[in-house]
């Protein structure tokens, strides 16, 4: 799998990808590689660089410390990298959770009869009518905050719009003639769900999942920033940003600027991946 991915990549390097599909795939690959590097960097980097070093406090960005150091002399580049890595991890768990809930509820609404559909649609509307952030804070607060609270909170709040999309897709494919034919060929509901319906919604699910990521990451950072999320000794971006606020007025702009910028770049990268996958499978633009 990995070797084949690499091979494709090599091809693309030799000559600029020749058609839109290849270009899109190329962008997706580059984005994924970038994200993997960030995650691995955060995990593998030398923890020694963030021990307190009072001799080297409040240093502006330099070659030694790309993003400068903070009031305890910790290297901001390392902290940012670890923060991003943590954010992506939390985002991954949150997005997987949300996407699973969306898949389950969407399928259930479309296949389990009128009552289930009404109930689930009502639930979707209920969740959509309250801003994410408010529900998220409520849930995280009830669960006592911390890693567990925030992850469960994220998973429980981000599914409604994706669930709605999946419900519509399943409804549409269920009434397709080829699915009806399949029933009359004596295929079971399970067989049809597995062979006809899942392959049909898989691309939508993937896009939805990818586009959930940036949301989840930003909301995690926001809640942590407000002090209701991850605990202060975790190297999370939200924590870094909220701590830096105090020092901004004293001219130490780099404390908030670089971590904030990096968060933005990561979020945009996920957005890019999602949008490009969408382009890749959009039937209206399939032949461009």
């Amino acid at each position: 799998m990995i070797s084949s991915l690499k091979l494709k990549n090599k091809d693309n390097h030799k000559q600029l990808p020749s058609n839109r599909k290849k270009r899109t795939l190329f962008i997706i690959l580059i984005s994924i590689i970038f994200l993997v590097i960030v995650i691995l960097g955060g995990v593998l980097i030398d923890e020694g660089r963030i021990v307190t070093n009072l001799n080297d406090r409040n240093a502006p960005p330099s070659l030694d410390h790309l993003f400068g150091t903070d009031w305890l002399g910790r290297d901001m580049f390392t902290r940012t990298l670890m923060g991003l890595s943590l954010s992506i991890g939390v985002g991954l768990i949150g997005a997987i959770g949300s996407a699973s809930i969306a898949l389950f509820l969407g399928m259930a609404a479309a296949t389990m009869g009128k009552m289930a559909d009404r109930l689930i649609s009502w639930l979707i509307d209920l969740f959509l009518s309250v801003p994410h952030l408010v529900t998220l804070i409520l849930i995280a607060f009830t669960l006592g905050g911390g890693f567990k609270g925030i992850v469960i909170g994220l998973a429980l709040t981000h599914w409604p719009s994706l669930a709605r999309v999946i419900r519509a897709e399943v409804m549409q494919v269920r009434s397709a003639e080829y699915v009806q034919v399949s029933q009359k060929m004596g295929k079971s509901q399970w067989w049809i769900a597995l062979h006809h319906i899942l392959p049909h919604i898989a691309p939508q699910l993937l896009i939805g999942f990818m586009l959930l990521f940036p949301h989840v990451i930003l909301h995690e950072a926001a809640v942590t920033f407000l002090g209701l999320g991850l605990s202060p000794h975790e190297p999370a971006i939200g924590i870094i940003l909220s701590e830096s606020m105090k020092y901004l007025s004293s001219g130490m702009w780099w404390l908030a600027f670089f971590p904030g910028l990096c968060l933005l770049i990561i979020v945009r990268t996920f957005d890019q991946i999602g949008e490009n996958i969408r382009l890749l499978i959009d039937p209206n633009r399939a032949q461009d």
């Binding site: 397709a176 003639e177 080829y178 034919v181 399949s182 009359k184 060929m185 004596g186 295929k187 392959p199």
Partner: protein
Amino acid sequence: MQLEAKDIGFRYGNGPWLFQGVNLTLEPGEIVGITGPSGCGKTTFCRILAGFETPIEGTVTFNSAPLPKKGYHPVQLIFQHPEKAINPRWKMHKILNEGWKPNKEVLELLGIDREWLERWPNELSGGELQRFCVARALGPNTRFLIADEMTTMLDAITQTQIWHAVIEIAKKRKMGIVVVTHESKLMQRLCQRVIDFNDFS
């Protein structure tokens, strides 16, 4: 081995009756045509016979028993637009073998090229796809075939090819066929008797 529809009536919600009191008895090996203007419910009636829809009034029986709700349906329907009756994400061989493994004889009669089996549906023309739909519907447990404008979208040559194959197989297996078409000349060629749907609306 009879397919019998008794006093069938259908309407959507509380709308006007699309048709009422339709009776049809189909013997094995019999070919019956249905005519009528567009929108008079011929397609809905076909869907009822094939078990896709439940009639509001009346009953459909197969061998004097109600149509089976589960398992392979003895009455198979072939649609007007083959491209809609085929999963666009499947290769042709998977589509063909969904219900049964059509034998060589059926494939040859219908003119299905071996080479097509490895293609995707969008790489075949409508006429070629319809041959697959017909082959797929001709499983050993199919007793009756409903052809709802089966060849309307096809050219005369493909239409004739498919009908010749279907009639030959039907004769061999003593299979009954319901033909819906607006082409009166085709109806005359194929059918032993014709039901006019004008009488029921």
